[in-house]
Structure formats: C-alpha cells, structure tokens
Subunit: 307 residues, 4 copies
Amino acid sequence: MPLISTQSKGVYVIAVTPFTDNGDVDYDSLDRLVDFYFEHGADGLTILGMMGEAPKLTQKETLEVSRRVMARAGDKPVVVGVSAPGLAAIGEVSAAVMDMGAAGVMVAPPSSLTTNESIFGYYANVVAATGEAPIVLQDFPLSTKVNISTDTLGRILEAHPSIVMLKHEDWPGLAKVSALRAAEEKGRRRTAILCGNGGLFLLDEMLRGADGAMTGYAYPEMMRDVVALVPKGDVERASDIFDAHMPLVRYEQQPGLGLGVRKYLLHKRGAIASSAQRKPGAGLDAAAIADVERMLARLTRRLAELG
Amino acid sequence: MPLISTQSKGVYVIAVTPFTDNGDVDYDSLDRLVDFYFEHGADGLTILGMMGEAPKLTQKETLEVSRRVMARAGDKPVVVGVSAPGLAAIGEVSAAVMDMGAAGVMVAPPSSLTTNESIFGYYANVVAATGEAPIVLQDFPLSTKVNISTDTLGRILEAHPSIVMLKHEDWPGLAKVSALRAAEEKGRRRTAILCGNGGLFLLDEMLRGADGAMTGYAYPEMMRDVVALVPKGDVERASDIFDAHMPLVRYEQQPGLGLGVRKYLLHKRGAIASSAQRKPGAGLDAAAIADVERMLARLTRRLAELG
Amino acid sequence: MPLISTQSKGVYVIAVTPFTDNGDVDYDSLDRLVDFYFEHGADGLTILGMMGEAPKLTQKETLEVSRRVMARAGDKPVVVGVSAPGLAAIGEVSAAVMDMGAAGVMVAPPSSLTTNESIFGYYANVVAATGEAPIVLQDFPLSTKVNISTDTLGRILEAHPSIVMLKHEDWPGLAKVSALRAAEEKGRRRTAILCGNGGLFLLDEMLRGADGAMTGYAYPEMMRDVVALVPKGDVERASDIFDAHMPLVRYEQQPGLGLGVRKYLLHKRGAIASSAQRKPGAGLDAAAIADVERMLARLTRRLAELG
Amino acid sequence: MPLISTQSKGVYVIAVTPFTDNGDVDYDSLDRLVDFYFEHGADGLTILGMMGEAPKLTQKETLEVSRRVMARAGDKPVVVGVSAPGLAAIGEVSAAVMDMGAAGVMVAPPSSLTTNESIFGYYANVVAATGEAPIVLQDFPLSTKVNISTDTLGRILEAHPSIVMLKHEDWPGLAKVSALRAAEEKGRRRTAILCGNGGLFLLDEMLRGADGAMTGYAYPEMMRDVVALVPKGDVERASDIFDAHMPLVRYEQQPGLGLGVRKYLLHKRGAIASSAQRKPGAGLDAAAIADVERMLARLTRRLAELG
C-alpha cells in the first residue's frame, strides 16, 4: 500500500461516485469505474472530492466506498478527500481510511477562514488531527471562497512536512506554480504539485513545473499524454492533444453543470451504468447533450487527424 | 410528543452541546443543561443548530445527543437542526429524530444557493426529503450568505404547508417580519415566527408581531419575560428588562466569539461542567472574561434596581 | 448616430483604454485602436466597461474618452458603460454621452444587491435615471457577485422596454440564453443578447440563439467569423476557427491577468503604443509572455492549415 | 490647519451629507451640521465616508463639500474619505483636499483584494499615491468584504509611517485592539486607534486602549462622555451613559437601514433640514419611526435618572 510523497507525480483522477437512478451507491459500477480509470491513464485515484459528491454520502457510505475502491485499485495509490466542518470528523475518517490502505488524505479549507492567520492555524489543526497521514492541500478558491496567498501557502508547507502535495486549482494560478518552484530552488523542501480545474490549464501548468494532474476530466488519456509529453520536451505533440480536447474540457469545467457532463461522458464510455447524481444535482438537458455530442464528434475527428 | 405548528409560540432555546475538556460529548451536563433551560424560561428547545456545534459531531453522536435531550425534555417540544450538504442526509436524520419524538426539524439554506429560483427549488427538495415532518426554515443570511427576499420567502411558505415556522434572523429584518404579518392579514396562511440573532432585536420583533424567540442567549429568563410582557402590552417593563441585558446580549452576539461567551456564562451558572468547545473553536481570553464579568456585575445591579 | 435596439446584432468589441507608460490616457492610440477594431470585424464598440479600466478614470477623462471614440467611430454605434455607485452619477454621465451621440449605455448591478427584489428595484431606478437612453444590462455574476435568476431577468425585461440588450456573461449561462429565447417564443418581447466572457462560449451561445458578441478578445476577427457563420448554418467552419483560438481565448479570460494579455496582444498587433495599465494593474511577466507567444505561433499555424 | 497624527485622540464624527428633498446637496444644512457636531462633542470630523454617501457625489460635489466643511470647521481637524477604485482618483482627490487644509485622508480597501499579499501591496500603492498626506486605514470587513489579519495590519503599519491612524471596525474586533497595543509595548511605533461600528463597542474598545471614536452616531455627546470618562477611570459612569444609549446605537447600526435612522435623528435634533438620502437609499417607514421614538423617550428618561 503506497503512500503519496513529495516525489509523487502523474495523473490522479478525481473519481466520480456512481449512483443508480434511485440514488443508491452503485458498487458494481464503482468497480468498473476504477478499472476504467487505470486502463485510460490514471496513476492513482482521488475519491470523495467535491466532484465525488462526498458531502451527499452518509459516513457509512463514505467508508464503504473507500474500502471498495481501495480493494479494486490493488497496489495503486488512492487518496481520500476528508474535508469536513469539524476536526474530529476529519481525524476520524482520516484514521479509518489510512487503516484501509489509503495513500493519503485531502483537505480543503472551510469557507469560514478569512485571513492568512486563520488559514495557517487551520492547517496546523488539520495536521494534528490526521497524525501521520500524508496530506494533500486543496487550493481551490473559486469553490471554497478561501484565497491562500503564495506566501501563506509557503509558510504552511514549511511548517508541516506531512503536507506533501498541493492540489493546485487557483485561477489564475500559473504564477503561483512558478513562485512555489522558485522558492524550492532557493531551498524550501519540495512539494508535489498536481493540478485541477478540470485540466483547463494543464499544459501551461506542466510547463511551469507541475508534476501532473489531479482532476476528473472524462478522458484521462489526454491528461496522461500531456503529463508524459511535456517533461520529454515534446510540447508540440502535447499541445496538439491538449488543444483537441479543449472545447470539451472547457465545457465540462462549467461550475455546477460540469458533473453532469462528466457523468454523461463516463456513462457513454461504458464506465458507469447511470449518469445519475444524488440529489440535489441535475443531469443534462437535450440542448446540453447536443453540445456535448457535437464536440465529441469533432474531437474524434481531430484525434484521427493527429494520428 | 408534541409537534410544532403554525400556532407555536414562546421561547425555544438554541441549546449548546456540552463537551468535556477532552472534547467528548458530556452527556451528564447535557441532562443538567436541559433542566436548566426549562427552569429558566424555555418552552422548548432547538438542538444541533449552528451554535450547537452540530457539524462537529459524528452522525452517531448527532443521534445520541438527540435521544438524550428528548428523553430528558419529556413532553416539551424539541426541534432538531438537520441542515446538511446532501438531501439524503437531511432525510435520513430527519426520519430518525422524528421517530425519536422530535417536534420538528430545522433547515438552513446551503451557501451554494445564489438566486431566488434556486432557493425556492431547494426547499421543495427539502420538503420532499423530510416527508411529514414540520419544518423550521432558518433565515440567517449573515451566516449562510443566502439572502431570501420577502417575496421569495412568501412563495416558499405558500407552496409548502409543512414549513410551519420561520427562525427569523435576517439583519436588518424588522421590515420582513412586518411584511410577513401584513401578507397574512391579506389571506396568506399563518406562519409561526420565532426570532434569533441572540435576541438583539427581540423586543422590536415582538412589537412587529413575532411569536417568540429561538436563540441561545445564556439568560433565557430575559427572553421569557420579553416574550410574555409585550403581548400583554407592558412594553415599558419588557424594555426595562431587555435594555438591562443588552450590553451582554450584544457582546454574546459577536460572530465566532459568541459561543465562547455563551458557554462561559452557562458554565458559571452551573448548567454545564466545562465551557470547552470541540475543535476548532476557542474559549475566552482573560480580557474577554474581564469584559463579561464587568457586564455581569452591572446586570445584577440593574436587575436589582428594577425589582 | 445610430441607437442600439432589440434588433441589434453582430460584434461589439469591449474596447480597452490605452495609456502611456506614465499612466496618461493615450488619445492617439485610442484613435488607432478604434480603427483597428472596425478593420478587424467590429460592428460597434462598447467603451468604459470593466476591461476598459473605467473606474480608474476621472469623470473628465471619462467624457473625453467617450467624445474621442465617438468622433472616430463616425456612424458606427458606440455603447458607453456608465455603472457607478450612485444613480445621480449614472444619470449625469448617461445624459452626457447620449448627447455626444452614444448608441446606448451599459449598467451592471452593484454588489450590494442581494435579493431578486433589490435587483428588480435597482433597474427600475436605473431606467428612471437614464431617461430615454437604450440600456444594456450586464449580467456578469463572477465579477459583480450579483446572481440574477432567469425569472428575475425576465421580470426586469418585461417591465422596462428601454432595456433593449443583455450583455450575457453568466457562467454557466447557456441554459439562460435558451430560457430567454423560449420565453420570447411564448410572447415576451425580444431582447438582443450579445455575449461576453471573453468569447469562451461564443459558438455555443450562438447556437442557443444569441445575436452576437460583446467582449474584448484581442482577435475580433474570430468573433466576426463565428457570429457570421453560425446563422448561415456553417457550424463546422465556425468551430474550426473558434477551436483554433480557444487556447488563447481561455488564457486571456483569466480574471485579473486577462487585461494584461489583451493589451499585450493589441500592442503586438500595432493597435496601441503601450500595453501599460493604469495602477493598480500589472503587465505580463516573462513566463506569461512565453505562454502567449507559444499559443500565438500555434494559432498562426492552425489558421494557415484551415485556410 | 492641524494634521492628524499617531497621537490623535477623541471623537471624530463621521458626518452625513445633507441633501434637499430633491436630492441636491444642502450646503446651508452642511454648515449647520458642522456647528452641531462641534457643539455636541466632536473633536474633529470625517467627511465622505461610507455613511456620508460619498460614492453618490460627483467629483465636483466631493470637492465643494470638502471646501465648505473645512471652511466652517476652522482650526478643527477634518479627515476626508478618498476611497476610490483607481489610485489616480485617490491621489487626485487626496492632493486636492490636503491643499484645502484637510487633516488627513481615509482609505478603505477595495473588495477585490483577497489575500494578505494583495492587501499589503494595495496600501503600498496608496501611500505612493497620496504622498505626504497622513492616512487613516479603515478596517471594516463587514462592508468591504476584506479581512485584514492582525499580523498583516501590523506589517502595513510598520512599513508605512504615513498611515498614522486606524479606523477600527472589525467585528469581533476587541482582540485586535489588544494585539495592536501589545505589539506597541514590544516596540512597534504607536498608531492612533479610533473606533467605528456606530459606537456599539466603544466602551469595551476604550478599555482595550483605543484612543477614541470615529463614527457617526447621532448623539456625539455619548461618545464624548465615554471617551473622556474611561481614561479617567470612571468606568461606571461611562457605562451608565453608554448603556442608556445602547438600544438606539444598536438600532442605528443596522446595515443599510442605519443611515435612515441617523438622518432622522439629526433632522429631529435640528442639525439638518431634511432627512432625505440621495438615491438609492430610503428613509424610515412608520414602524421604524415608532421604534425610534419609543427608544428616544426611554433614553431621555434614563439620562434624566442618571443625572
């Protein structure tokens, strides 16, 4: 059972949670989905993030989903989102999933944090609550409403070696990646940086020194290719693939609507039996499906052209 | 086991959740606290609201606290806060506590709601998820970031008879109380209106037609007196008592800090064994304690003067 | 001097305001920029919007910039952004620019509006303050923090015939465009819908029935082509062009950073003498310039391939 | 013409701007109001703050109001609010009012600032733009949405000696006052701290070491007395007066509604000819007037009791 570390890299797909049309967790689809992700380019998985509908699960389901995914993933790393309003719950779930063999836990800041001081203090509490578990700090202001400045982020990373990875999805955020890497060159310890935001800036982020992707775009193979090609110096080929997917990436990245797009595509690709979301959360209407199908047809053609 | 209704009135105290200094739920103090509230003027209780540190409890603790309070409260009504990110959890906890004998459930809107349409749609989902349970709609924009206009609130009340009560804590909110009552005079069905905000506008709200208080000020006897005296027309006596408490009410109503003040006072009054909060959440420093003690001394003197 | 109307369509470019490196308004560049926009596909201009650094201008400069642009634009329509905290200022500037020959005025809601009622009331005041001027309602929640629901928007449009146009940049917002058009089919009066958001969803919006673009992407020719081709049914050709520009559109649409990208490109294209922004507001660093140049090289190649 | 400094203390009343019922600035009332403030306990004035309806004035009116107030104030200090979206406007208005004899300028942070770094950077720009003018930093997160942590505030004060005063109205904010004073005891240069929030915590703030009040409560004599009595050690007498006013202070401090209350009281006291606000901004309805009159009657009686 591997742990994430400051040396981790590659593609960690943010997994959706499959439900039946009745709203029950669909564990058979969950198995199939895990296989699908690893067959299409994932190096690891991150479950129970925001796009995993985690807050809609009961604590029992949370643990059962975690167990099932880890069993299926075998020796591949699985990170578990454990963000919760109380530190007790964070500690409790963290201990449980680390016991099951999780590779680490991910914690986003609660929206009640309003200053650099309170953000810093919060992560000190998180580190205390999670003990030895390797932590991914999720930096996603558009959703959390918490803006972590580059220097505050640096102070947190310096203070807490157990925070080994950043899920980077500040927007705009390229300068932040560059600044973090520059600080490492001046002596700060290394942090793994995997990028979110649906992959919308993945190529640019890799060029700034990111280590990979941690997001849930329904075509992990795009992320696999970009993450592999940029470090090899083949930016043109990476850009060809990246640009081909961009209309769809952009469409899937719409707040609120995006999960419907993602589940529609995963269902279409055979990874899950239903595109249903647990309430509240709506699927795609006919116009949105037409948009997606139009983009898919063009994507297929463009990838064929590229060879 | 009574249910709340559109005719409910009086003082429903928002109960704190007592913890030991170690952060465990202190069930003995919980029993004592329930007695304390009813001895000092409560007509009912509301548990697991924001000031009850509800999000810091595990689901198991949530149910155990509910069971314990209801057992102790006997035939007095107990409302349970069931706000949660997912409708499944709301439905699940709601069914469980109604089964135990709760008088109703309280639901605040999640901060993701940004328009009148989405707020309206959310409460339709809540009503569907909670079945027959009488619902308290908590309207507290300062904390939820969700602003419900008077007309949207009216549309929700008209559409859903199971929403029998409003926990009113918009700020400024006096005109909203007046507008709701005016609509009832023109034919809309009655809604019970109990007021929050720590009691800071309780007298003014009673004069606008509110039915009582639903908040957790550490001196429920003030709320009992104001709620009893205003309908009898004794506004001066009600004001004397209200004004005497106001410096302390105002101090306890500071966001974030207030729960520390409240637990300090309840501890001092012998209702709970420790003023500890579960993490994150800090107690009072020496300067704040000095402030509170200064105000307490004056309150005691002023109440003696008033007789 | 043409006025905008409910029948307006095409590309209204949101003009930047050129400054010298010292921070003075550069009126010679302003003339050149107006020519540039019309030579590259603009049907009209919108000045003094958010990306026009309007709040950084003195009122005297505001009027001088307006005068200069209208003189240069000749008989082409020029819309002027007049958003301001006070209705007196909105009325005053609106009257002044309409006198100069503006085609209409644009007003975004102030962030203090928190409910459907207050939004509705605000536009009633705006209509009263601007008299006969045709109004563009700017619906841009990401920036204004004001979320206007589809039904509230509909009520505003029904109440105020002088609001002839919507600058649509809600995100996600495609369903809103569809809903507005559906309401018109059921009898609501027509409203012109021009789309913003840097053009990131322009093709999809045109397919939903939008009338054009009102945004400032540094390559207006892309917008011209997409807006012309979709109504002709040539979606594939429109998509080829749109997709080719998308990496750059996406990069230019980053909040805060985007204006630096836009001015860099306009300077590079010879439209303005300096890419400087008035303070506060920073230009591009070397890494961002490298990003832009990389994308430009690919764009040029891709457009050549497409022929 | 005195300047504010780190040694300033006392009561600086935040002046309203009087309008006629037509919405014109009422300069005769402005003269009378200045006299009223100084006759009722003001040591200085602060004009064109948020409660001065500053954003609703044209730049010409801004300067004319400033000129008129300074002429009438004679040798008493007048601080001018110069917050504006652009630094050019801040610099321009600041230079103009300092030339007229202002005692200093006040600047609140714009809501676009989201991190400690951007807040720090902003005040560096403000200091550069205002040159030699003594600056009041307004710290009012409830209104600005910008939360300045205590350490960030400290860094700003250390970096910029021209920021001589803090208008303190964070909420809760008592611990911040204590922390600032503690840092001074350890060697940081002194900053004057005058308190806002309508005076709702003035007594507590004075006990923590504040230097006075900078807010606009319609009874400046309360603020004068509290600010004078606490340093003399007569906390009981200060509390008697403070507590007597508290119901009204609390009522006037309601966001949005408060200015209507304040102008109603100033009109009733003969300080201004009309309680009108420039649009948007509404006066009191009959129920609110009844509330205010009820509290006034009690205040008068209570003050008589106190002697």
